[in-house]
Symmetry: C2
Subunit: 731 residues, 2 copies
């Protein structure tokens, strides 16, 4: 039974079948076969066996590149760790700052770990030059690995794009903010504009309807239909008694009524409503939003249109590459373009607010969640808690766990924010959410943990410090916080990965749903929704580990093995998961890589400034100039990567488009692109229907109404006298 | 005679003729006719008479828009001054901070002007809210005027572009960094690439030769030829004696020889050298730089190519809109693309160095150039200097004059820097120089004058202050420096404009040249070179006055009339100059306006932060929050302007291109574009010759060598079997 949770991707692909669920009841939930437990780690070699090209074909490029982030972590940190442990560790350990200080201040105690860190090197020591040169070595090694990886990913992406099958989005451009025209409908306006300005390339277009209300009705109806089937099945099995339900919420209270009759009636009601709404949407010109999907005769034409400016006013006729049909976030297409700037502004303010004030409740709860408070609230636990080992575990883990719980709620908040921002592709929404989450993690988890107190207090303190002193303040606490972050890695990183491979949460949810909610076969299919890589949460979290690794590489080298274990374990687990579990919603061909690269570079710069702070604490003033070179170099590296690679992730070069067009013309000379693209970008709510039903709504042929009154229309009159509008007849 | 200096533009247009220079010798240089002096101000109404459309046609859009900057200054500052003088001035003057302070500290003296400034309002006074609200009013008024002006300029630009005649640059794209191909020359490579990837639009291309050495030879030859003519004329007039010259530098020393023979011989030598070099350039494939001007069949095709990415590697086949032929800076086309990033980096470092270290010599000279030093050096001037009125003039003017002299050298330095950066259009070079000069003026003239000491010292001081204290430090000295800046406006602004209308420098140079250098009629034409608006120096200077006006509007309102006089006077003078004198080198259709707008916005933000500093000095702490809103609003205004307008200044929208193409097709159906564009982008060194001479160099027809070995070449084979390369035969 659990098979569906652990290998859901194969079910979706139709390769695995339902196992026959015979045997005692308990076997359904707990596997009693001991041999299974012995074979528990069998998945490890299996996960590594699949070669990368097959992996890309099986799970998509996005997933394959995603696990390469972990691999990149290993590539960066294994050599760094080897060097740091062999060079820096002895340098730190053989020095005697703590001995000196201990003799001076007898009550001073140090953790065992501090002997291995830079704190054990006294101020103004010549040994600090070893740390500085290591910072250079680590930086250049990171540059090299990042550059190599960027290049590899770029080639993978280009190869993927060059070999992928025909997709509607290759030919299609999303045009937004179509200006209103008093004499023409939006559809006519789009048609005429592109016929005039892209005369050789324009093929057809699909207008976008504001069908958000209709989609809601259709979903309600589906839900009711599902219930009707459930009760009908029930009645068929036990013919003696017609099933009943209650009118109240979820059928839990209210008047008792005949279920089949009730739902049939309700569905009829909704069906009528749906027909009305559907007619309104298709008939009412106001239901058409000023946006359209415009398809071209070739990829070249679409690439040209997506990359150029159409009119004088840069916010009219805004063209962007269309997202994949399954990637479109339809709800946001109806947002008026004029609102978008305002929305983005508001959300930017909200993100800053969230980032800087979120720490206040966390700090409050963290002060409550210490051992003394727990003893007060639950005094009977006192003897247990005060046992030495348990006490230290609680002291170490508790603040981390509190933070972790708070952060669990965050992805939903940032995703909601991104949706309000009004982006129209799910991939963009996820990328924006990831950016917000990343900012939050750096400010609150990283800096928030290093400097105690709320982010707001920090800000106040910072403004009243001399700017030259700020790195010093941070510099003091970095080495001291190494133990905390080690605990954090174990709680958040290691345990998180273990939970991931066991799929604890989805497993629980699946069984709960199976027990209480699943009523039909369709429900069961939905219950085992495998989910997808939670990009907006997982990627920024990986970045946090990159940041920690880069910061502590020079400060506390003993930290690095923890990071390496995390990356190695994660790589194994996620390779298994993308093969067996996840089902991606969309395929962006690794277009997120520039973000990944940029964030690692940001981490690198942060680590360099922090080292600068630590060294200025150590009175190694002469070293400042040496170390200031590093952030400048890193910034230049970032600019170099951006110039060299990024545009290939954002735009589709004309040459590649032309190659694919030409090949297609040779291999499929009789392809009817018009038919292929006609229904590609229909709102999913219209797609569910048999399309033929709606051919009644076909518009008559529309000739252009405006006869060469202004220059831009001259082409229309000469070129195509009657305009074929079959494209808009469907939607 | 001076007529040529004051009305040189008309001579260039061929409307004015040489006046007959009869009469006494002295009349040549000094006008003895007294009536002329009475009519001295006659040019004022004449300058205002010409309506703007005629002005645009006469002097170009760049010039017409340039004088609108002064007009914008008036539009912004006249209402602000009216309000400031009626509201703020009484508020400041009727307060009594100085009275209070004078009674406390008897030895404190204040300038008369300080009674009118914000310094006369005591700390924590309620009156400061008047200043805050005025800051809001001034900011919003500036927004309104900037927005209105931006819109007007945009419409002027679009109208200008829509109505301008056919230009080669409308059809042409400059492609740089053509990747090397082992089997094809650069010319063939370009030809095939664009035939394949822009099959319907490609027309022809012109390769770029590295003819820098050839250009040098041709110039040398021209110079010698000019001398030859001079001596030949001389010989013809006085037939008895053959003129002689000396072989040394400028004919000043060396062996005495027969001039005509010597120069004939030298010219022959150079001619041979030139022919060899010319053959080398045309014949040697290494003389072709990996760049080309590619022309298209329509403006639409060129717009598409300029705005799209051609290949996977974003730094190969880099396409940008071609500058006008007269705007091309040929020397830089030969710079390998790979060098450019390095060059830009170096120059960025150099600009920072220049900006922050230039103050050191200035400060040094300024300490020398005080009255005591002058008395020491030239003791006989002592009685004169010590006279009251003269002493105060010297004290006021001297530091300004020292600064001014230093700054006179700067434009050459920044222009040289921009040339090293490797931009290929003169317009871009000037824009970049202006940006550098603007940074310099703000850091050194504005902040350098406000805070005494070198910029480097300031930086050191700033880093050791609490960030919250920095505005305070600046806040103290702003009101105190009002007198200095008033003097500066009079010395730099008013006197500068007066010198401009009198054209003192060009007048002196013209006469010096006439006396010593002019040998032939051609020399005289060159001597009266009218010059053009020195954009890189004048625009940043205007910006300095915007900055001063915006800063002192709330602080010392009595400052504003000085600014207004400057703008009004400048407007008149420059309107006269662009009508009668200047001859622009290129026409960029006001593409510099985004820079102008951005810089005024920067000035606005600086002024807001400085007011914040002044008020925090006055213990009006509650006002900080009020005032912090302003820079944020200003930044948002900047973003809004950028999104709304800027792209129309950078790109050519497809719709506009299509309209112009369509109109042209209707009005001139038989236009042979190929002939029109064939020679448009030849290096000027080749243009001087009769083109027919070089038809011998015509290449044979070149068929594509690579037969569909890779996908990108398929189009070539099907499309055009024989390639017409007449285009490259010329150059």
């Amino acid at each position: 039974m659990n098979d569906r949770v652990y290998f859901s991707k194969w079910y979706l692909k139709g390769i695995r079948e339902n196992p026959s669920t015979s045997g005692p009841f308990v076997k359904k939930f707990i596997n009693l076969d001991m041999r299974m437990y012995l074979r528990l780690l069998n998945w490890v070699p299996a996960a590594l066996k699949m070669p990368e090209p097959e992996l890309i074909e099986h799970a998509g490029l996005d997933s394959a590149v995603y696990i390469r982030i972990y691999l990149l972590g290993l590539k960066i940190f294994v050599p760094i760790a080897a060097l740091a442990l062999t060079v820096l560790l002895p340098v730190n350990y053989t020095d005697r700052n703590f001995e000196i200080m201990s003799t001076k201040l007898e009550d001073l105690t140090f953790g065992a770990i501090d002997k291995f860190s830079i704190s054990n090197v006294p101020s103004a020591s010549k040994r600090l030059y070893v740390h500085i040169s290591m910072a250079y070595v680590f930086t250049f090694w990171t540059f090299y690995m990042l550059y190599k990886e960027y290049k590899t990913i770029l080639n993978m992406r280009l190869h993927f794009l060059a070999t992928e099958n025909r997709h509607p989005d290759q030919f299609t451009v999303l045009v937004r903010n179509v200006p209103p025209d008093p004499e023409e409908t939006i559809s006519e306006n789009v048609e005429h504009f592109f016929r005039v300005n892209h005369p050789d390339q324009y093929l057809l277009h699909q207008v976008v309807y504001n069908a958000n209300k209709l989609a809601k009705i259709v979903n309600q109806k589906k839900d009711l239909y599902n219930r009707l089937i459930y009760y009908t099945n029930k009645y068929e099995r036990k013919h003696d008694k017609r099933p009943t339900t209650k009118t109240g919420f979820w059928g839990l209270w209210g008047k008792k009524i005949d279920a089949i009759d009730y739902y049939t009636e309700e569905i009829d009601k909704l069906s009528k409503e749906e027909v009305l709404e559907r007619e309104r949407v298709i008939g009412d010109p106001k239901a058409v939003v000023p946006a359209a999907f415009v398809s071209f005769k070739s990829r070249w034409g679409a690439a040209v249109c997506a990359q150029t400016q159409q009119t004088r006013n840069p916010i009219d006729w805004l063209t962007t590459w269309a997202p994949q049909p399954r990637d479109v976030y339809w709800d946001n297409l109806a947002i008026p373009f004029i609102e978008l700037n305002m929305r983005r502004l508001l959300i930017a303010a909200a993100v800053i607010g969230l980032t800087f004030f979120f720490m206040i409740p966390i700090a409050f709860v963290q002060t409550l969640a210490n051992i003394e408070s727990i003893e007060k609230v639950v005094p009977f636990l006192k003897p247990l808690i005060n046992k030495g080992s348990i006490k230290s575990v609680i002291q170490g883990f508790l603040p981390g766990i509190v933070l972790k719980i708070f952060i669990l709620f965050l992805p939903m908040i940032v995703m909601a924010m991104s949706k309000i921002e009004g982006f129209v592709a799910i991939s963009t929404l996820e990328a924006r959410s990831a950016a917000k989450f990343h900012l939050f993690l750096i400010v609150n988890v990283f800096f928030g943990s290093i400097i105690a107190g709320t982010a707001l207090q920090q800000l106040k303190e910072f403004l009243n410090q001399k700017p030259a002193d700020i790195p010093k303040i941070v510099g003091v606490s970095i080495p001291m916080k190494a133990t905390f972050f080690m605990t954090y890695i174990m709680v958040d990183g290691w345990a998180g990965i273990a939970a991931e491979i066991l799929r604890l949460v989805p497993l629980v949810i699946f069984h709960l749903k199976n027990l209480f909610l699943v009523k039909t076969e369709k429900d069961r299919e939905e219950a085992m929704d495998p989910g997808s890589l939670a990009w907006p949460t997982t990627e920024p979290r990986i970045q946090l580990y990159f940041l920690l690794g880069l910061v502590y590489a020079t400060v506390t080298p003993i930290f690095l093995p923890f990071i390496i274990v995390f990356f190695a374990f994660s790589y194994l687990v996620y390779r298994h998961q993308i093969i067996n579990v996840y089902n991606q919603q969309y395929e962006s061909a690794a277009s997120f890589w520039p973000d990944v690269n940029r964030r690692i570079v940001i981490s690198l710069i942060i680590s360099q400034f922090l080292l600068l702070g630590i060294l200025s604490m150590k009175d190694a003033v002469n070293s400042t100039a040496f170390l200031l070179v590093l952030p400048v170099l890193t910034f230049l590296f970032h600019r170099f990567c951006k110039n060299r690679f990024e545009s290939a992730f954002r735009r589709f070069p004309l040459q590649d488009a032309m190659i694919k067009d030409t090949l297609e013309k040779v291999t499929e000379p009789h392809l009817n692109l018009k038919v292929y693209l006609r229904d590609a970008y229909i709102h999913p709510v219209f797609k569910d229907l048999v399309l033929d039903d709606y051919e009644d709504y076909e518009y008559p042929l529309v000739a252009t109404k405006r006869s060469s009154r202004n220059g831009s229309q001259i082409g229309t009159d000469q070129g195509t006298p009657s305009v074929d509008l079959t494209s808009i007849s469907i939607v």
